[in-house]
Point group: C2
Chain length 571, copies 2
């Protein structure tokens, strides 16, 4: 029985930080060497970070990426003798670029694999940049046939994995930048197990970890044996070097027929045959709410770290959304890097300010209190004459003025102290436009932008359960939601109850269902029409919204690209 | 000599307005019939409007589009007997969709062509939606071989045009949704002339006209004979039915060899052989500044019309940007649908308010005057305590407060009266972040978002030249640019002079040039570094900017997709 010690280096790269990414690769390669690893694999586009988007259109960026790869190749001589590295980078030939994996050993670039299946749906635009590869080489590492491929490549049962298996690969190493959405992990695991068993190859899946703008990568790297049994799994949302011994039980396969691609010999017989085997780690996947919460914390933490800020400012209304955002911010940045500001108005209830104070105390964060009455009164005075000719309307203008005074205050504090504003709206509100552009939508990052209101409640309870106490006060959770922009206002004055609204939004926004299909799910037709109209009408607001963490199969933003001027009415 | 009377119906479709687009097609087909036209062609994706973006992911939208096409087919029996129609629509087969052209005659769908070359760069995401067609049928219309293809198809010298010519097409009808940028017309014309001459086919190019979100389509449909000579050209930025007689001088070609696709007979011998020939119209293309000005007017007019608003509100500072925006708004919507508002502060010069008043009078628009002092004083009072601990900074926080008070006022008026706000920033300001998020960036449409400051001046002079007077007052044009957010402030306190800034921005933003390359153009290295850093640092602001009209080869927005968290420093 031959064996290979595999290392899956699930690291948190940063887009554009070529030097930082190179250093991280070499550091993990060195650790892998110390652990007797034969081959260590890194996530998709390791060198550039993922996704680099239109940086890829710059010739000098691609050149810099190639120079960075060269530093990794040379660095292995000093830092990772004997270890084979699989590293994602941008390959270039004749003016075309490829999403590629380099196979590196002892100061030598032994081979390159170019991604064949380029995703161009959802959040992905890979055909905007890359040419598709056409070759499926098999690399011989420690006497074992290894096929390397990239992310999407393994999702097709007809793809390169099969070609590589047929050409003699016993092990497939698949490097990924696979964005998180709730529940995706199980789907991935089932697909990978099937791919391994169907092709009788071991499958090593290494995923990126960390946040990048609206995307969060959840790690959860996995190894399956050739029967499709899971033998190792890394944690979600944490950097990890997952190490395991892969026993290749079969004799050297002779599947490769005439015309199969030549095997590229990378390294000699595995040294791990003589090493004591390592106990494979099989981390437990997080529960449904826990993984979403972790994604939000990761997305927030990394946006601050990678875009270059320390402290977050959160407007605290005493409501459940802003309270959850503050809790996430504390978990992401530490209480000393979170500042709350309460901005009560003439319409705020006493309970609201008290709840904001209780929350700040519970989280241990600083709380500023800036009543907005002076500016509110000034605006009403300034607008008295211009508004005099206004017909008796709903009062939305007067309500929004208050939200925008708060937006202005938040941004003033942000500009003065370098704090970045976390906005507090949730997906249900963004969907139906129950939010004020430049008011409560003002800020650098909208943590809950993809979190429907009912899930906001579940995440709040989840966080409190972990704390073992009402970290977010019970009074915050239990009061009826209100924007408090006029006396005795409630969300239900304008919106259906969230337990009716959220399922309709999921059907329309995430699943592109038609009116008839949504009604067939059991919803009231008039209500469905009303909700669809609200969603359509508010596209312009969402276009100017800050980025937020994608946690569903379809988030607002690059995931859902709709025209603003759009006369299509599906209701 | 055989001949074909061609009609190119350069119409202004609306995305999602299937009924409106169907009506417009039938109306133009009827007019074509009255003019003795044999074949009338409409722009790309006529039925759905272009580009429909993620509406294409909805099954019911694609079904509705097919039903709309059916109404056109049936309508030809009543409204356009004897005329062949070429109509863009979304074809569907086996769950895949195609960007297609229907060939329709007397109540019959005679054939379909599916676009082969799908653009997936710049503003285009066609691979996100469409499958590429593979067949190149030749249609026999009035005894003449006609190849139909779609937009990008004709840009490749190896593309379907050549295949169709080799298969016996004597005439190519190419239907387009080709977005405008300054100077693109000449480039298009040269390409089309070459394509016609190289393949010895007449080329009929019909383009969409009108605005759709950030894109403007400039029409300018053209006909070339088989020697590549231009024989007809439609106006830019206007709907038009361009009619001309195409003389096919050669005898029936016998180029099609074995294995060539069968000719699909659509209609019998042309009736136009017996008609008096029509004098072909050759509209003169607009000059460089005139076409940009027309694009801005068209983009603004159509965004208001298609997204559903009547009146525009413009904050008038007395500066050149807001004055030009007001002039464009008046040309787009009429003076009665434009309202100006001057919002002087304690730092506004006397000249500013006087200039705003002079401009409003010159344009004949209503002007509101709302001094911001009450809110300004209130904010300073509210911020006194929170700001007390602030280090001595640049005062940017205090400056932005004023801009955001103005943003709040504009939006309050917008909310109260249903006016939409036109923002006034230009591309130079958006590029370097010399603008306030939620302040002067607040609004529904940023007319000058893609217009560099030096071009703002040229457009102003252009508009005054047309008016034959200083429609935009000379004092507005000649004063040094200032944001007037602190005493005696000038743009040049923070920025290099615009005649130095704009060429650096063009090289970096539009052409992706590196530091070394820009310096090699003759710019000061320290200045280039500073400008590149400002551009990179302000990506987050642009992400929350309103849409604006694309008039350069690369606009901010979908045309330039950069990560927010991005550590790449090319300087």
């Amino acid at each position: 029985m031959r064996s290979l010690r595999i290392g899956l280096a699930q690291i948190n790269t940063t887009v554009g930080d070529l030097d930082g990414n190179v250093a991280k690769v070499l550091e993990h390669a060195a650790r892998a060497g110390e652990l007797g690893v034969d081959v260590v694999a890194f996530p998709e586009l390791t060198v550039t970070g993922y996704p680099p988007e239109d940086l890829l259109l710059r010739d000098h960026f691609v050149l810099d990426n190639k120079a960075a790869l060269k530093r990794i190749v040379e660095g292995t001589l000093r830092q990772a003798q004997g270890v084979v590295l699989i590293v994602g980078f941008v390959d270039e030939e004749g003016g075309e670029i490829y999403n590629a994996a380099a196979v590196i050993h002892d100061g030598r670039l032994a081979g390159v694999y170019r991604k064949q299946l380029l995703p161009n749906y959802g959040v992905f635009d890979e055909m905007r940049y890359f040419c598709a590869g056409v070759e499926t080489p098999v690399f011989e590492i420690g006497g074992i046939g290894v096929g390397v491929n990239v992310c999407e490549d393994i999702w097709s049962s007809e793809g390169p994995t099969r070609a590589q298996a047929l050409a003699g690969a016993e092990v497939i190493i698949n490097i990924n930048g696979s964005p998180f959405h709730a529940g995706k992990g199980r789907f991935r695991e089932e697909m990978l197990a099937a791919r391994a068993a169907d092709n009788a190859v071991a499958v090593c899946y290494v995923n990126l970890v960390g946040g990048q703008d609206e995307l969060v990568f959840d790690g959860g790297s996995m190894v399956f044996d050739e029967r499709g049994e899971l033998i190792a799994r890394a944690a979600q949302f944490e950097e990890e070097l997952l190490v395991c011994d892969l026993a290749v039980t079969k004799e050297k396969p002779e599947r490769a027929g005439d015309g199969a691609p030549a095997r590229i010999v990378v390294s000699g017989a595995s040294s791990s045959n003589n090493k004591p085997t390592v106990a494979p780690r099989v981390a437990e996947p997080l529960g449904a709410d826990a993984e979403v919460y972790a994604a939000l914390v990761t997305g927030t933490r990394d946006y601050w770290a990678k875009a270059g800020a320390e402290t977050a400012l959160v407007g605290l209304s005493g409501g459940v959304d802003s309270s959850l955002v503050a809790a996430i911010a504390v978990d992401a940045l530490g209480a000393e890097h979170v500042v709350g500001v309460a901005m009560p108005s003439r319409y705020s209830s006493e309970g609201s300010l008290a709840d904001a104070q209780r929350l700040a105390e519970s989280l241990g964060i600083e709380l500023l209190i800036v009543p907005i009455e002076p500016a509110h009164a000034a605006f009403l005075e300034m607008l008295e004459r211009p508004f005099a000719s206004g017909e008796g309307d709903s009062g939305a203008a007067e309500e929004n003025v208050q939200a925008r005074i708060r937006g202005n205050l938040l941004m003033a504090l942000s500009n003065k102290f370098g704090w970045w504003v976390l906005t507090t709206g949730n997906k249900s509100e963004y969907a139906v436009g129950y939010c004020t552009l430049y008011g409560d939508m003002a800020g650098g990052f909208a943590v809950l932008k993809d979190v429907p209101k009912m899930l906001v409640y579940r995440l709040t309870e989840h966080r409190n359960a972990i704390a073992g106490r009402d970290l977010i006060p019970r009074s915050v959770i239990e009061k009826p939601p209100s924007a408090e922009l006029r006396p005795d206002q409630l969300d239900t004055d304008s919106l259906p109850p969230y337990d009716q609204l959220d399922p309709i939004l999921e059907a329309y926004v995430e699943n592109d269902r038609s009116l008839e299909e949504i009604v067939a799910l059991g919803h009231d037709e008039a209500l469905v029409r009303r909700v669809m109209a609200m969603v359509d009408r508010n596209e312009y607001k969402r276009r100017q919204a800050p980025p937020g963490v994608k946690i569903t199969p379809r988030a607002f933003g690059r995931d859902r690209r709709l025209p603003l001027a759009n006369r299509y009415r599906g209701y």
